[in-house]
Symmetry: C2
Subunit: 420 residues, 2 copies
């Protein structure tokens, strides 16, 4: 495969809006995995005229994932391929038919590789236009060899590897440049959601992807003779068979849409605002600590989830809670909501036995946090920065919202001037 257009490399301000903001309105913290250069134009996903034009435009970039590992030039840069490179797997145009016709012709025995529309990079003037919408289109394709397209998928994978690019496994969050980290996160989250939900939670029958990878529906009929897609000999019927009734076909059901799990992560300051509460898990290397975190429960505000988790994990009672910023975390589908909370004057005593998730929790002086933010940060288990002395506090890197929350706390968030 020939070289293909690549997005710009790291831009400290992530993208236009942020750099405008930092000039005009003061800084807003944009966490790693946010700040995508793409406009999702979400309302155009169901427009098959638009999506077809975008798919075959010469400027269009396709990001490939094999079992959630993205194709990359190296750990800092994604690699992209062109339409002709994925055509053997996805066909000339998987969006040729309307969603209505795709559902009518649904056959659970045929594997349709997931083709996900990510958005338009409006900064790239490569000639793609659809009315007032302009920019380079980006797609992601799931090339994991499975089902009826195993052979074709392996062919695309081999051709991609032959260009010198690699499918990088594991978590890429410490290395990818910031704008591409956001593109990767969007693609990974949606491919994973599709792969995790091949069946309908409402009725147990196989589902199909529509709306350019962002929705799954439970079709009322099936051209496969087999009642579900879990293997066995199947024949294709001449007229589709009716499937069992499903509640998701009546009106709108949230089961049809991607799932995102809200989580809370919080820097907790003491009542006198002189110390910060940190905790550590048993499996971490020595001296490593971070802010506490946990999942939001149903029908709980973020502020309540923060108070509950801090009490359950560390026994500390919080007063006021303020939300600082948020971070997408595509492992698999979390939205990290970062908050700063303050302990009640008589609620600072640490108690680890309610929900014994933490090996330790402790109050740390602001100065020790400041020092660790300078010399003790890195990815978990990686070496610290220059000046670090063995035994000193270790903290997460800048790409983690925990680090940003601690920076806010030591940097004067508690006494800062108006937010807007």
């Amino acid at each position: 495969m020939p070289p293909h257009p690549q997005p710009d490399l790291p831009d400290p301000a992530h993208h236009d809006v942020d750099s405008m903001l930092s000039r005009k309105f003061g800084r807003e913290v944009a966490n790693y995995f946010s700040g995508s250069p793409l406009n999702r134009v979400s309302f155009l996903r169901a427009n098959h005229d638009f999506i077809t034009k975008a798919l075959v435009h010469p400027s269009t970039s396709f990001l490939l994932f094999n079992d959630l590992a993205p194709l990359a030039k190296d750990p800092t840069q994604l690699a992209y391929v062109a339409h002709k490179d994925v055509k053997p797997l996805i066909g000339e145009n998987p969006f040729e038919k309307s969603e209505e016709d795709m559902i009518k012709e649904y056959n659970s025995a045929i594997t349709l590789p997931l083709v996900l529309f990510l958005g338009l990079d409006e900064k790239k003037k490569d000639g793609f236009e659809h009315g007032i919408y302009k920019g380079r289109p980006f797609f992601a394709v799931d090339v994991t060899p499975r089902g009826s397209v195993e052979k074709e998928a392996n062919g695309v994978i081999e051709a991609a590897k032959a260009t010198g690019s690699t499918f990088i496994e594991g978590r890429m969050h410490m290395t990818l440049n910031a704008p591409e980290a956001a593109i990767y996160a969007q693609a990974r989250a949606l491919l994973d959601w599709n792969a995790r939900n091949p069946f309908c939670g409402g009725c147990g029958q196989p589902t199909m992807s529509v709306n350019a990878g962002t929705k799954r529906v439970c079709p009322p009929t099936d051209l496969s003779s087999l009642p579900n897609a879990q293997g066995g000999a199947t024949t294709t019927l001449e007229t589709p068979r009716e499937r069992l009734a499903c509640v998701t076909r009546k009106g709108i059901s949230n089961l049809c849409f991607p799932r995102t799990d809200p989580t809370v992560i919080m820097a907790v300051v003491s009542h006198d605002a002189k110390r910060v509460l940190l905790g550590r898990q048993k499996r971490w290397p020595p001296y490593w600590y971070s802010t506490l975190a946990g999942f939001c429960e149903p029908a709980e505000s973020v502020e309540e989830a923060v108070r509950r988790e801090v009490w359950e994990e560390a026994g500390v009672h919080l007063g006021r809670v303020v939300i600082h910023s948020t971070q997408p975390w595509p492992y698999p589908a979390n939205l990290m909501i970062g908050a700063i909370g303050q302990a009640l004057p008589d609620g600072e005593k640490i108690h680890l036995e309610h929900d014994p998730e933490l090996e330790d929790a402790k109050w740390v002086e602001m100065d020790e946090i400041r020092q660790a933010l300078k010399v003790g940060t890195s990815g978990l288990g990686e070496p610290a920065g220059e000046g670090y002395v063995e035994g000193g506090l270790r903290l997460p890197p800048k790409t983690a919202i925990a680090n940003q929350l601690l920076q806010a706390v030591v940097g004067g968030f508690l006494g800062e001037s108006p937010k807007i």
Copy 2:
């Protein structure tokens, strides 16, 4: 059924922590549906000794739901029943066996009514104690007549109605007192999640509820002869049959845990902070407007979701976005994340044609918002307050986070002093 202990009636500050806060740290906005008086003690749900003791304690309150309609004395107060009243449906103790044994004896043809542990009301000194944890236990039971317990469920429903209480259908959010609204929201969200997900999204087989109603697992075996629970004659096997493999049984899967859908709702101010952007949907009565809102997408920060939705729905470009507060919204499983955003100086032009969801959007002067907050608020379609003049702006009531966001904007949030 005799009268049963009831939680306290409306407390303007919702609960202890908030009233301490308002005294000591200044006000934090606690939105309707948050502020539950219950401590969820989530780490005790899997403790069958605790949950059994809580279930049968004489102080324990059971909230009943029939097809998501809660039993209530009137639209402002829930009604509760005692253990003996639900025993004909749930049995003496549905938590008698360990989770492990329940999974081993799983039979997809037997309906186990959902019994959900909600938490402890620690203010109620009724004598229930488990180590250091004290307070009146609260449970919710799904009494919807279905499956193999239809007759027993109908019996419990009829007995409950005979006391003069009613299962109130529809959305109760305008009428219930605040502490009970939070209890109702927690119960409704979890009962609905269980009812919506009888099958596994990963493999299509029936799932079962564990962890006192807060988790669903995909058992490896089944004592029912039928491969899925969608009807037909079934016999009970002597030794359980193996089911198909499922990915959710390997390690931890988010599919086993309740789903919460994060949404954004935002008061948008003009660049000069003198006007607020409001929108209206076609189906609303005349003069009704509200803040814009929409679902977060996968791998998008809250701040990005706010900017995307405002551009998609109204064409307005935002600069800085600050999160204000959050609100659980159990219809069916939303977490409303309320934000305040400011338009870019050259981004204020309204354009409704990107994603034509709104019938209208307009910039409204602060004074008009102030006036409408005084006289023009109510539930959708209900009469306005005293002093309202026909043709004036109508806005959502105080129970809606939209109202709280607008109050914050007109009340000086833009120029306020430190958040903590």
